[in-house]
Amino acid sequence: MKNENLYKYILGIADNSLILGQRLGELCGHGPSLETDIACTNISLDLLGQVRSYYQYAAKIAGDERTEDEIALLRKEREYFNVLLVEQPNTDFAYTIGRQFLFDVYHLLLLHELQKSKDLTLSAIATKSIKEVSYHKRFSSDWVKRLGDGTDESKEKMQNAIDNLWTYTDELFYQTQSDKVMIAEGIGIDTSKLKDNYYRHVSELLKEATIEIPESKWFQKGGKEGIHTEHLGYLLSDLQYMQRTYPNMEW
């Protein structure tokens, strides 16, 4: 493929939204309350909508017969390049919110920069998505505060979730070979420059939520190179079930 680096770069961004969108979609009809259920599935819908724009573009870049659906639904586990954070399960509502918050802060910073990309399609998708993601961040930030600064039980659960998800945050700033090539071409975003801002922002909000900032400096990574935690396989078997069972099925 001529533009393989660009293709991989697009997937690196889009796969995060696809996998997180699928995770949130699992809560449809299972949220802790009607409003939170609707909010999580609305966020899922936004993310999947954004994903369609990215995959349609990726399909065009690939230049062969592949379609957005094939890209979304027919890759093998090691061909997905999402970060480990977004594939973590909905252990409890605090995990769902913690995962969302840790991703939303990053996502918004990324999209702000992506608007300036030399690639006009990526820049247009970013400009469109940013409006939606601002709402996501408001929602998750509010809930981190509400749970963290809530009852003893909600505080304990929120703290647990942050403690356990923290190890996946550093990977957000990991750069693959394709990322580096795209950054050099002015298309990709140098995420290492977002890192200080990210941790500053996250720490401020956690402080406000009376949640202690984890001290651990040991971080997990691998997803961006296709090496995932055990959770992704289960998620994909759900996500891909219909296409695998009824190949070429369409709505």
């Binding site: 409003e35 939170t36 609707i38 909010a39 609305n42 966020i43 899922s44 819908l45 936004d46 993310l47 999947l48 909508g49 954004q50 369609r52 724009s53 006009l120 399609t121 820049s123 247009a124 998708i125 400009t127 469109k128 998505s129 409006k131 939606e132 709402y135 408001r138 929602f139």
Partner: protein, 166 residues
Amino acid sequence: MIITEPHIDKELIPILEQVFDPEIPVLSIIDMGVVRSAIIENDSVKVQITTTYSGCPAMDVIGDDIKKALQEAGYNSRVELILSPAWTTDWITEKGRQALEKYGIAAPLDAEADKDVLLNGKRVVKCTNCSSQNTKLVSQFGSTACKALFKCEDCQEPFDYFKCLK
């Protein structure tokens, strides 16, 4: 922000005004501001529409409805979805805003008021049932991607608010 006026051939406006958002059947796609251009080229019409929210499932239906309406009027058509410039609630026309209110959905306020409403819970959104200003945000996310859920503290009715998107 880039604000571009939509470019729609005059004779097409009455046809496109008959196409409505399937989720909000009182709001025509012209009043919603999603039609960015509609141009007659020979016997065929090229229509460009923009999404409101990226994941809005109504967009596919709207595309099909446009084709159907134009076909009935004797035109072949091609509908293209464009991303840029990104849709904003500012593009909803005055007529559209009134239709929303009448239908029971509070129309979007300006961006600053929206921040107040959604961030600080200030009571700015008027109840669509009794016009009271004593209303409360229940959830930032409502029955569709474009709406937030409110409740009136006076008449106790729940209602939707069309979120401001800029």
